[in-house]
């Protein structure tokens, strides 16, 4: 090994330091660009509907329930698929979520949710985690598409107008009323019982 290094040193000594520095930085740039492109491609690939449902516990449970709901199929065909609601769009929070998801891979490998019974056993806990995270970000993923200011009141029913006004007044966030809209409602206390009159951040 040391012989090899010696030979390398002798060979490199033939070139000027500047030349070597230029070649090294070009090489670094090249490798860096590849790593960067790989990361971007990986992030994009893991943020697609086919990737999410490549796992049976997702496809047979939550995805099956989501099919036919308003976020899957509607008049204009604009869809919100799994990552639209469950993965943040901003790079920082997105990377954090992706990092957390690596632990979910461990769950998938050890078969934590591999039967319907096991899934149902963990349904409430998983839903609750989502509600807590939604509450802490003022339902950021909902608001990526739905904005309070953008809602035209006159197109909403009187009841909806009154409820939205009250929710804004009390500092409530989307998920506190709009839960269980894409997946089955879990059995247990809902967001209103969990968060009470606690205002959104």
């Amino acid at each position: 090994m040391s012989k090899l290094l010696d030979r390398l040193r002798v060979r490199l000594a033939r070139y000027s330091a500047l030349k070597l520095a230029v070649v090294a930085s070009l090489l670094g740039l090249f490798v860096g660009a590849f790593v960067f492109a790989g990361t971007v491609a990986g992030l994009a690939w893991t943020n697609t509907e086919p990737f999410c449902i490549s796992c049976h516990s997702m496809k047979d449970n939550v995805y099956a329930e989501y099919k036919g709901t308003i976020h899957d199929s509607n008049r204009s065909g604009v869809r919100a698929t799994c990552p639209d609601c469950h993965v943040p769009r901003e790079l920082g929070p997105k990377l954090v979520r992706k990092f957390e998801a690596s632990f979910e891979l461990w769950g998938a490998m050890t078969g934590k949710l591999d039967t319907k019974e096991k899934f149902e056993k963990h349904r409430y806990e998983m839903a609750k985690n989502e509600w807590i995270s939604m509450k802490s970000t003022d339902s950021r993923e909902c608001r990526n598409c739905h904005s309070r200011e953008g809602m035209s009141k006159e197109l909403q029913s009187e009841k909806a107008q009154a409820r939205h006004a009250k929710a804004t007044e009390e500092g409530k966030t989307c998920i506190e009323c709009h839960f269980g809209i894409a997946h089955k409602e879990p059995d247990g206390p809902g967001p209103q019982e969990l968060f009470g009159k606690q205002a959104a951040p």
Partner: protein, 110 residues
């Protein structure tokens, strides 16, 4: 002829009697609940503006006329109080009595 009509009558009566024993179609009930916008104010077990179906089932538990009362509640636009304010309760979006009955029974079974 007489015999045949007796058989017909008894079999029809038997069919009618057999109906209540029929299992509730949960999927159909949930679909109708969703279509009728029930889930905008109610949830199955969680609190929303309206009581949860579990609460409703508990309220009517043991009452002989539970089905009748709940059916009236979802078909006759009664006045209700939502957090102190009076509102009209929306009717179920169906005219089919069997379909409505299935929904009522499903709610009461929660």
């Amino acid at each position: 002829m007489m015999m045949r009509s007796i058989v017909l009558v008894t079999s029809t009566a038997a069919a009618c009697l057999a109906l209540p024993a029929q299992a509730v179609d949960a999927d159909a009930a949930q679909a109708l609940a969703k279509k009728s916008n029930c889930m905008k104010c109610h949830a199955v077990s969680a609190k929303k503006e309206g009581p949860s179906f579990k609460e409703t089932a508990a309220k009517y538990k043991g009452q002989a006329d539970a089905e009748q009362k709940l059916t009236a509640h979802i078909t006759t636009s009664p006045k209700i109080k939502v957090e102190g304010k009076e509102e009209t309760h929306q009717d179920v979006k169906s005219k089919d009595s069997a379909e409505i009955r299935n929904l009522v029974q499903w709610i009461l079974a929660q």
